[in-house]
């Protein structure tokens, strides 16, 4: 299947990898903030975001290990639901709709930002829209070759 859903690591090795990444990111974020490596407010905020992402990885890893240990049946059920072909089709259709909605909103946002005289954010919005189209074209070509 081309579409593989599910974000949390399901295997033990995946869980340990998630734990490792989480610890690294959290250590980087927390130590960076505590040791005053950066001074500006926005960089401190960025370190906070990195810490947050690390916590997500760490939490996902811990949760998966817990479930592997105490609720393997539930985990198997989730695995079946994740691989279920109808669920995959539903997910693909939902992604397509949300992607189209995001594109329209980004386009509209660019106009609103120009109207509000926020030229740089407007250019970023247009840039993201262009990148999105490029990613679509590349993924289309790759998928066409696979099918």
């Amino acid at each position: 299947m081309l579409c593989k859903s599910g974000k949390l690591p399901k295997s033990k090795s995946g869980a340990y990898f998630s734990l490792f990444i989480g610890v690294i990111l959290m250590a980087f974020g927390i130590l960076g903030a505590l040791l005053d490596i950066v001074q500006s407010y926005n960089l401190v905020m960025l370190l906070g975001m990195i810490t947050g992402i690390g916590a997500v990885f760490l939490g996902g890893g811990v949760l998966t290990l817990y479930r592997l240990r105490f609720a393997p049946a539930k985990l198997r059920e989730e695995e079946i639901n994740r691989k279920d072909e109808r669920n995959i089709q539903v997910t693909r259709a939902s992604y397509a709709v949300s992607n189209a909605a995001a594109s329209i909103m980004l386009g509209a946002m660019a106009f609103v930002l120009v109207y509000l005289d926020y030229i740089v954010p407007a250019l970023i919005a247009v840039g993201v829209l262009c990148v999105q189209m490029i990613v679509f074209l590349i993924s289309y070509r790759v998928i066409v070759k696979k099918m």
Partner: protein
Amino acid sequence: MKNRLEELRKSRGIRQEELADALEVSRQTIGSLENGRYNPSIQLAFKIAKYFGMTIEDIFIYEGE
């Protein structure tokens, strides 16, 4: 496309959960298949046919567009 999935399942006294478990799909997928809301992939159609010991044509009835 029509199918005889519900009829076959009930005639053999199998619950939706059991069939879903055997085919490694969700129970909702079995429900959707039985209601005719969802048409299976060729892979799943073969699995269903193999499970009941029949051919795909015996279970699924193609009625055109």
